[in-house]
Symmetry: C2
Subunit: 422 residues, 2 copies
């Protein structure tokens, strides 16, 4: 099945927003075995939207339109679909009732009558009632077995309709086959190493397929199987999944598509352990990522962001001797930072991160030099490594490596060996 | 002048990356008065790339192709341009010499001969030599005054060629008119308020045009004038710029397109003042943003991320009385956090942020309740406000509001009044 995504909205063409909807939709479509061959973005102009929809319908089996379903005069997707199908618009009472009810809930006073445009449906189309927002989705049969789905441009509303209606319908379409898919998220391992390890599974993989994607200090491995029933698809998936699990081992931090900070917080909560951090090169990034998750305050107590040598001494008690030699980029400094923050926050365990984010060397250490330390009731540990990448990557990968130490400690997994001396 | 952007790369269609290049290019093109009417994304397939280029050349005056200029067999943009123009490929000695020299610089040993594909230029095309990376850009005349530019897909390499060659060429093209453009970045003011204030300038603005864009806790106002010479364009721009400056006043934090943390660090450096933070609801985000900038350690000493009430007491000395009543979401707590972190880090000035990021209320305070405090040698200040938005927005806007307090203090501008009681 071939799909094409058409994003509608002048804001895309003015560069006010990036087309992140097309990225999300494409990833989800790939996961259910739908090939996306083109993306288009077009502005709020009726003739151009109609032309883009016709082009997409010519070359794809499924057209996914995103945006242009709002209540304003600029929202033209409904009209474009009606024009493309050459059918009149029909106001639908069920949508109208929903809109009036939603407006009462918003307590914004009377609904402008112009909002009822959102209750208009091109004759013969199905619609998807919205839970969030007020824009219904539309489903049009284009003839020849081709179909068009239109979903709102607001990302959360788009995701709701994709997950609730579009992806399930597409997963069951065409050959009547069902997809089973699993994502293993790994860290502490490079994409090229994953590729080496899984080479024979990846090469010519057809069913299940094996694919990987690196970014942000992790590698996602996605396995996808297709069969006549979910049970049969899962049965195809399981042995390959077991094989991949065995090969990637404890570099896998999630099989449930969780972020690494989510996994760490879940483990802290389950074990009743509290965590404090001491951050130098990451500047607060570990704390910011942990606290981006709701409920983190039950396990993450805080972080000492000690960006200067003097702050490391005054706030965390790193010794003047250590600061003088071997200096702030060292095993000794990382260990003293971890001990200091554990004491300061009275936490069960402490993670410390220090190093050189770059672009300039610091104290004779090249950019990318990173030292991590972990202090727990039963052990102390430190690890140095040389990171590739630019400043942002060095910092991001250090966050990941640090969080992964905590994950491994809480899961009782071995901590990686140190690559460096002092 | 009408432009179209064609992004080439299967990774876009698989959803592995978002098309952020198209966003950046579109914003820059809009700033020089070029209308972008379509974006396309197409995979690494020769026939489909050629078809997409032909479609773009049919409907636009300028085609911007991004990606597919690398050294591998999957990099097909060169071949697609040659096929579209029906010209042979010519290996260019100047590019070949540059590639060999770059490889020697990388000290990676011998260059694979296959890399010389990057020295191939469709006959009759101009090329752009790369500073970063190894992929040359290409410029093809399409006839009828139409032109095609191909730039690499690596964002930094794309930006280099757009800034160095493509945008300057386009700015001088067509009607022989020159563009002068200025961006004013504002914070502490909503988009709708900016719209109100600038309504008469925005409505029907043609030359200069006034446009605005909100996001991430700030509003960018862009003024663009067009004239026969740069001098004339600037002369058109200046009076409107002065008018906008006067109306937006000290909500403007940058006229040089700097990020707010950059402005704060520049002011700290210039005044020789050191800053420490105490972060609760932002969890380290202020520190992470300040330290994302090179050289921040000369002015930003550190941040105490105190996520729990106990950490606020133990680390910063917030009094048990304050923690009991009025509690952690209060003027008193923010002020004590600022005082505590200023003392702890021995900094000249201190910023504290506490509040309820949500989604649940905390201690009777609704999500979005934020208290900020600033302690300096000559004054203490606190401000409470109720933020709209989801958890991520509440946190981001609090970072912006906090950094803006520091900016205003260092610039000697008035600090905003508090909206709340305790």
């Amino acid at each position: 099945m071939r799909a094409e995504i058409v994003a509608v909205g002048t804001e895309l063409l003015l560069g006010q927003i990036a087309n992140t909807n097309a990225r999300w939709m494409s990833e989800e479509l790939a996961a259910i075995g739908v090939d996306v061959l083109h993306h288009q973005a077009v502005g709020d102009n009726l003739d151009r939207v109609v032309a883009s929809l016709r082009l997409a319908a010519d070359r794809a089996d499924v057209v996914l339109v995103c945006g242009g379903l709002g209540p304003t005069q600029d929202d033209l997707t409904r009209d474009a679909i009606a024009a493309m199908l050459a059918v009149p618009m029909v106001r639908h009472p069920e949508i109208e009732a929903l809109l009036r009810e939603k407006f009462r809930g918003y307590a914004r006073g009377a609904m402008p009558e112009s909002n009822l445009r959102q209750a208009d449906v091109p004759d013969g189309c199905r619609f998807i009632l919205p839970e969030r927002g007020t824009a219904p989705g539309l489903i049009a049969e284009l003839g020849g077995g081709k179909r068009l789905y239109a979903v709102p441009g607001v990302p959360s509303e788009m995701v709701e309709m994709m997950r609730g209606t579009v992806l399930p319908e597409l997963a069951q379409r065409g050959d009547g086959e069902v997809i089973a898919s699993k994502v293993l998220r790994c860290t502490g391992i490079g994409e090229s190493r994953v590729a080496e390890i899984l080479d024979d599974l990846y090469e010519g993989s057809t069913n299940p397929t094996v694919a990987y994607l690196a970014g942000g200090g992790e590698v996602k491995v996605r396995l996808t199987a297709k069969a006549g029933s979910l049970r049969a698809a899962v049965a195809l998936l399981e042995p390959v999944l077991d094989e991949v699990r065995g090969r990637l081992g404890d570099t896998i931090f999630s099989e449930e598509d969780e972020e690494l900070p989510e996994v760490v917080l879940r483990l802290l909560e389950r074990t009743g352990v509290t965590l404090a951090c001491a951050e130098s090169l990451t500047g607060g990034g570990v704390g910011a990522r942990l606290t981006s998750i709701v409920g983190s305050s039950s396990s993450f107590v805080g972080s000492a962001v000690v960006y200067t040598a003097e702050a490391k001494r005054a706030v965390l008690g790193v010794s003047p001797q250590t600061l003088a030699d071997p200096g702030v980029v060292s095993r000794a400094c990382a260990l003293e930072m971890a001990a200091g923050t554990r004491r300061l926050f009275d936490a069960d365990i402490a993670l410390a991160l220090t190093g050189v984010a770059g672009p300039e060397p610091h104290g004779g250490h090249p950019p990318g030099t990173v030292w991590l330390a972990l202090e727990t009731p039963d052990r102390t540990y430190a690890r140095g490594y040389l990171s590739a990448g630019e400043r942002d990557q060095v910092r991001r990968w250090a966050e990941q490596a640090g969080l992964d130490l905590v994950r491994r400690y809480l899961e009782g997994k071995p901590l990686p060996p140190s690559d460096a001396g002092t």
